[in-house]
């Protein structure tokens, strides 16, 4: 028994030592850390004119390397110009951003961030819940906001007469085309689409399917929610006088009233079935791998493609109009920086936000990360238009209108399910469309603030 008891002794001793170390460390760690996340206000010491109060702002956003870099740059300059403000900047991984934000807001003041970003579609709910404060007039007035920013980048942040957020991460929807694949089938990648039928035909030409096996897809339709959003909104905006797709009185979708929208849904399902294949390179980025003729995407995809497929030659063109000759359209999306009601100092919060979203700031965003501007004046500025693709992108800012989702993730799900039911489940498009409309109406109801 002797050897084993000696071994036991040493393990037991090890456990004891670790336990004691742990206990001691825990005791040490229990003392609050030096940089506390909660904003504090300590009165200034100097005897002369009362010094501005010390302010700590907690700023949260979801992580992106280039954006984190840009914000660090702004933070350094802002803290330089405003010596009494300290910014605690946290860049949180995208998938966990919601969990962390929800937990912090639930815990309330002291844990919740002062400045953070939310998708434009959620601003209304946040405001209704009394979570946000409007943009401070002293920093920038509502009128000035309307004059400076592209209307569609700020209108979803407006409630009543006040604006509650300033835009960042502005995106539109455009079609990316693989130059090489286009030239192989004798198509010109730089020629705009005539209409949706033209898009379909090009996609069909680019598809290589034989006997159940696919070698190349004509069009990656995987971004189901983008396709359907731009298709339906395009119709209502261009042909129905800018009709919103949620009726303001009934709070229900107006889609069933317009048979063309069902037709668009059927068109999309047909495109997805004929020019795309779920089972082809499942889970991979088909366009980056050079196996897809075209796909819908945001301007930010340029950065992604640069990293994933630096040698891929592609052209960006506007989305196809429903019928030939109609004016161009795209659906635009963005996030908003907002200030929480629990923030210690609203003025500093908004000063900081405006510092990061004003005109000079937007130039910095573009320089560091290739982000799009939202200032009217910058749309035609040559520094943003360095190549043909950039021209198309910048022009799209002029004819965009914002995505009209009420809520957020449910729409992704419903759009995807509706398409899947038809293409994979062989359900009748009418039935699937109606199910989608019913479900989305329920979602709108859930997310419409109850007064």
């Amino acid at each position: 028994m002797n050897p084993s008891s000696m071994r036991t002794l040493s393990r037991r001793e090890l456990l004891k030592v670790m336990g004691v170390t742990a206990a001691a460390s825990l005791a040490a760690a229990c003392t609050p850390p030096v940089p506390a996340p909660a904003p504090t206000k300590a009165a200034g010491a100097p005897a002369a004119a009362p010094a501005p109060k010390e302010v700590k702002l907690a700023h949260w956003q979801h992580h992106s390397v280039s954006r984190a870099q840009t914000v660090e740059h702004f933070k350094a300059r802002f803290e330089d110009e405003n010596k009494n403000v300290k910014i605690d900047f946290q860049s949180i991984p995208w998938a966990e951003y919601w969990g962390k934000l929800a937990s912090a807001i639930a815990a309330g003041k002291g844990s919740a961030p002062d400045v953070f970003q939310i998708p434009m579609g959620l601003v209304e709910e946040y405001v209704a819940g009394g979570n946000l404060v409007p943009v401070a007039d002293a920093v920038i007035t509502g009128k000035a906001i309307e004059e400076s920013y592209l209307p569609w980048t700020v209108q979803r942040g407006k409630k009543g007469n006040e604006y509650y957020g300033l835009p960042l991460d502005v995106q539109t929807l455009l079609i990316y085309r693989n130059d090489k694949l286009y030239q192989e089938v004798g198509l010109d990648p730089k020629a705009n689409f005539k209409d949706l039928t033209d898009l379909y035909e090009q996609a069909a030409k680019l598809t290589k399917k034989k006997g159940g096996q696919t070698d190349q897809i004509g069009c990656n339709t995987g971004y189901y929610s983008a396709w359907q959003t731009v298709l339906y909104q395009q119709f209502l905006q261009r042909e129905k006088n800018g009709q919103a797709w949620v009726d303001s009185a009934t709070k229900k979708l107006v889609w069933p009233k317009h048979p063309e929208i069902l037709e668009l849904f059927k068109w999309f399902c047909k495109l997805s079935a004929d020019a795309d294949d779920n089972a082809f390179l499942t889970g991979q980025n088909r366009f980056a791998l050079g196996k897809a003729g075209m796909e819908i995407g945001h301007p930010v995809s340029r950065g992604t493609l640069k990293a994933q497929a630096p040698d891929l030659a592609y052209t960006i063109v506007p989305f196809a109009p429903r019928q030939a000759g109609q004016p161009l359209y795209t659906a635009g999306s963005h996030w908003m920086w907002v200030v929480g009601k629990w923030a210690a100092d609203f003025m500093s919060g908004w000063k900081w936000v405006y510092f990061c979203t004003n005109k000079p700031a937007q130039i910095v965003w573009s320089d560091i990360g290739g982000d799009l501007p939202s200032y009217k004046e910058l749309v035609d500025d040559p520094r943003f238009r360095k190549d043909a693709n950039a021209n198309v992108v910048m022009d799209s800012l002029k004819y965009a209108s914002p995505w009209e989702w009420v809520g957020w993730a449910e729409w992704v799900k419903e759009f995807g399910d509706a398409r899947d039911r038809v293409v994979i489940g062989n359900e009748a498009p009418d039935k699937s469309f109606n199910t989608m409309v019913d479900n989305l109406n329920k979602v709108i109801e859930t997310h419409t603030p109850k007064s």
């Binding site: 209704a128 979570n131 189901y224 499942t282 799900k413 399910d417």
Partner: protein, 313 residues
């Protein structure tokens, strides 16, 4: 032992000193674990149950009490029914296979005569510690309907046309295969630990008596392994009913997981999605408690059926 029995018989109405002493020591050993769990886990669980009785929308700050309405909704919600079915299918399929294969592996790895034994044990354990991102990428490729190795392998036997992760029928089995594959080493290690304790004398005595390998296993090893088997069965079922990562990482499209027509949507993903993507914490909590009830019932049944004291002769 006899003394205690007599003492018990005499003092049946009240606890003997012996029993009281035992109980106190038991509570002493139990307290640290129990009180930590009580404070840090059970209490939040109760709080979560409280939330499930409300329509808890964090952002609109809207918390009306609605009693059991959330629970009634779960019964009517087709997405919930689908998630439950997927999860049950997953559990019933994955657990027995995983246990059987890992037991076989453990038996093999327990043989002293196996050359390179340590290398094999390590190799079979490595999937457990390999990053899910790497596992997902390689398996997505293996399951690729046209070029992947799985379909090539099946092709030799004349089986073609299975679209695996793109098929509403085969996506879930594909996930199960990956999850079982990744967890083999885990259960293998536990079985190994269990096998280690079975004294060699038992097997030697059996061999002398003329038992072959199978009889030695079935009549000696397996019964003595009962506590380990019970442990693995119960924890594997509890774990499988709460499966999350395999189903999500391999079937996420546009941030939404669940495979073609929700065929790989599992309960815990459904709960997570409802609570954090759709922002319905009350309903999400109710879903969690429905799952909890299911797991509890299944576990109690299992414990009832399999628990027996091991007697040494």
């Amino acid at each position: 032992m006899a003394t205690a029995a007599k003492a018990f018989a005499i003092t049946r109405q009240r606890w003997s000193r012996q029993q009281r002493r035992e109980a106190l020591w038991a509570y002493a050993f139990l307290s640290p674990a129990f009180f930590f769990l009580l404070a840090l886990i059970m209490f939040p669980i109760l709080f979560a149950f409280w939330i499930s009785l409300h329509d808890w929308s964090l952002i609109p700050r809207h918390f009306p009490f609605i009693g059991l309405q959330n629970y009634l909704e779960t019964l009517r919600d087709p997405l919930t029914i689908k998630s439950l079915r997927n999860t049950l299918f997953y559990t019933v399929g994955a657990v027995p296979v995983s246990m059987a294969v890992s037991l076989i592996l453990a038996l093999i790895m327990n043989q002293e005569k196996l050359p390179f034994r340590t290398w094999f044990r390590t190799a079979y354990f490595i999937p457990v510690i390999t990053s899910w991102v790497a596992v997902s990428f390689v398996w997505l490729w293996l399951f690729e309907p046209r070029w992947g190795l799985v379909n090539s392998f099946l092709g030799w036997f004349g089986i073609t046309g299975i679209k695996w992760l793109a098929s509403p029928v085969w996506a879930l089995p594909a996930i199960m295969l990956v999850a079982v594959w990744k967890g083999l080493g885990y259960n293998m290690v536990i079985f190994l630990a269990g096998l280690q304790g079975i004294p060699r004398e038992m097997h030697e005595a059996a061999k002398i008596d003329g038992a072959n390998r199978w009889q030695s296993f079935w009549f000696i090893t397996f019964p003595l392994l009962n506590p380990t088997v019970v442990f693995i069965t119960v924890t594997a079922v509890i774990g499988s009913l709460q499966v999350f990562t395999p189903a999500v990482i391999m079937t996420t499209v546009q941030g939404e997981a669940g495979g073609p027509i929700n065929s790989t949507r599992v309960m815990v993903y459904h709960i997570y999605s409802t609570a954090f993507r759709y922002n319905r914490l009350g309903y999400g909590a109710a879903l969690a408690f429905v799952l909890f009830a299911l797991i509890l019932v299944v576990t109690l049944m299992q414990l009832r059926l399999t628990q027996r004291e091991v007697e040494y002769t």
